[in-house]
């Protein structure tokens, strides 16, 4: 069905069927109502509305409200994602600190302690950078507009 044209909107094919069904069930209507004539008259209506233009104006009118909602929803998603990501962070940091200590112990046994400290601190700085990038990426990933996806048939 095209929704952009402005053609007269006549009854659905089921229209006359509805009248006939009722007339079959109802003896009074079955004998007294001229179904075909009535259906012909009811079908004669011309609904000349540019529904697509009406819809465009609806969209314009509700756009500020939708933008406000989209903004609020984005912040809610960011907050939730950051919260979920921050929960395991202390454990990850503690484990990394433990690993770095072990690596430092190992490397300082083989190399001068200054060089070992330099290597371990460089690696620690790299890990910090990695964490920062990961957390900064959360809003970027969430800012992607949701797709019109969903299962099942339309109603």
């Amino acid at each position: 069905m095209s929704h952009t044209d402005n053609t007269p909107n006549v009854a659905t094919p089921g229209g006359a069927r509805v009248l006939r069904e009722h007339a079959q069930e109802c003896a009074e209507c079955g004998t007294q109502v001229p179904i075909d004539r009535l259906a012909g008259l009811l079908d004669s209506t011309a609904v000349s509305i540019d529904a697509a233009a009406l819809s465009q104006r609806v969209l314009q009118r509700v756009r500020p409200e939708l933008e406000r909602r989209a903004g609020a929803a984005w912040w809610r998603r960011v907050a939730a994602a950051l919260l979920v990501a921050l929960v395991p962070l202390p454990l990850v940091v503690a484990y990394d600190a433990y690993l770095l200590q072990m690596v430092y112990g190992l490397v300082s046994a083989l190399l001068p302690s200054t060089v070992a400290a330099y290597l371990v601190l460089s690696y620690a700085a790299f890990l910090v950078l990695l964490f920062a990038t990961t957390y900064a990426a959360i809003p970027l990933v969430l800012s992607r507009p949701p797709r019109l996806a969903g299962g099942g048939a339309t109603t």
């Binding site: 069905m1 929704h3 909107n9 009854a11 659905t12 094919p13 089921g14 229209g15 509805v18 009248l19 009722h22 007339a23 109802c26 009074e28 209507c29 007294q32 109502v33 001229p34 004539r37 009535l38 008259l41 009811l42 079908d43 004669s44 209506t45 011309a46 609904v47 000349s48 509305i49 529904a51 697509a52 009406l54 819809s55 104006r57 609806v58 969209l59 009118r61 509700v62 756009r63 409200e65 939708l66 933008e67 406000r68 909602r69 989209a70 903004g71 609020a72 929803a73 507009p145 949701p146 019109l148 996806a149 969903g150 299962g151 099942g152 048939a153 339309t154 109603t155």
Partner: protein, 169 residues
């Protein structure tokens, strides 16, 4: 393809594409329904108000319900309010209209419009939903929030009245 109900969920998140899709699916049916209910008057206002309510009330929409039923319920309630607010000297019956507007309408061939306008509001709603929107008795009952038997009875009275009007012509 997303279901109507899923689209409402996305509308709650402010997704404009979801609303655009819902509008595309229902613009013809809804605008025709309003047009027939009000004999073509204030269609744009009522159409906009219906969708504004959809957007506003979307967070409270129960996704286990059918969206189409909910949408038409909103439209029915707005049209009923519109009829209640209609000024006494503002005739609903297009036959009573005078001036260029009436002429324009008559020329547009509003035979069905005249017939529908002569039905009581509750009967008119049933005829529009059953005849033009092809809703089952059960669906019409859900939209009108009344028992199925009431829909059947209103349809019966509407048909009897329409038959009288047809015979008068």
């Amino acid at each position: 393809m997303a279901t109507d109900e899923a689209l409402v969920g996305q509308l709650v998140q402010g997704n404009e594409d979801a609303l655009r899709e819902l509008l595309r699916r229902y613009e013809r049916a809804l605008s025709s329904f309003i047009y027939r209910h009000t004999a073509g008057r204030d269609v744009e206002d009522l159409y906009q108000e219906t969708w504004l309510r959809v957007v506003r009330e979307a967070p409270r929409f129960d996704p286990t319900r059918r969206f189409s039923t909910w949408l038409f319920q909103i439209a029915v309630n707005l049209c009923r309010d519109w009829h209640r607010r209609a000024r006494p000297n503002d005739p609903t019956d297009v036959d009573d209209l005078e001036g260029p507007r009436a002429l324009e309408r008559r020329e547009a061939g509003l035979d069905a419009g005249r017939l529908l306008a002569r039905l009581p509001e509750l009967q008119r709603e049933v005829v529009i939903l059953r005849y033009y929107e092809d809703l089952s008795e059960e669906q019409a009952a859900q939209v009108l929030q009344c028992p199925k038997g009431t829909v059947k009875s209103r349809m019966h009275h509407a048909m009897a009245r329409l038959a009288e009007l047809v015979k008068e012509r």
